[in-house]
Amino acid sequence: AQSVTQLDSHVSVSEGTPVLLRCNYSSSYSPSLFWYVQHPNKGLQLLLKYTSAATLVKGINGFEAEFKKSETSFHLTKPSAHMSDAAEYFCVVSDRGNQFYFGTGTSLTVIP
């Protein structure tokens, strides 16, 4: 069975400080992993994806994530938070490439 756990429902950081959003997954297959961002009243936008190539994946807006198979984790990081990063973030796993399983989301607040 496939599942995704986002360990923090809410994260609050100060502008200019690092961001860490945690994601753990379980999958019976070699998974594909994704991070999506949802700004208020907007659709879901892909930040980055892991598909069995390099384990450190760089995405848009300075975000990156590292796939760690031994820890079954795919945490999202950014060195320096910006006010525009305030949004809901979803970690998603796909195993057979057709069905996608969403985490419960992490709401990121950036304090000026």
Partner: protein, 114 residues
């Protein structure tokens, strides 16, 4: 840049009425999906569609729901007799061929059932 579009952005309906939510996926994509997100809850998979038929569906996708690709460009979700608990944001997504392509999401339709 190609994008998935959805109409309407907001639909208000009375309980028991039928609604049709419309989506225009990216034109060369092959896989189509509907998800819903009840306010404050996680995004839930409803159904996937490939080669003009449902490929997978969740427990949520009961007989009240149906999907159709009527004309090769639109992808619709019909709810035959809406319930209060159907109130949610409904997202359409599409994906190209290939095993690991990501999904592209539309902006969503907010459905309010009164």
């Amino acid at each position: 840049e190609p994008e998935v579009t959805q109409t309407p952005s907001h639909q208000v309906t009375q309980m028991g009425q039928e609604v049709i939510l419309r989506c225009v996926p990216i034109s060369n994509h092959l896989y189509f999906y509907w998800y819903r997100q009840i306010l404050g809850q996680k995004v839930e998979f409803l159904v996937s569609f490939y080669n003009n038929e449902i490929s997978e569906k969740s427990e949520i996708f009961d007989d009240q729901f149906s999907v159709e690709r009527p004309d090769g460009s639109n992808f619709t979700l019909k709810i035959r007799s809406t319930k209060l608990e159907d109130s949610a944001m409904y997202f359409c997504a599409s994906k190209g061929g290939g095993l690991y392509n990501e999904q592209f999401f539309g902006p969503g339709t907010r459905l309010t059932v009164l």
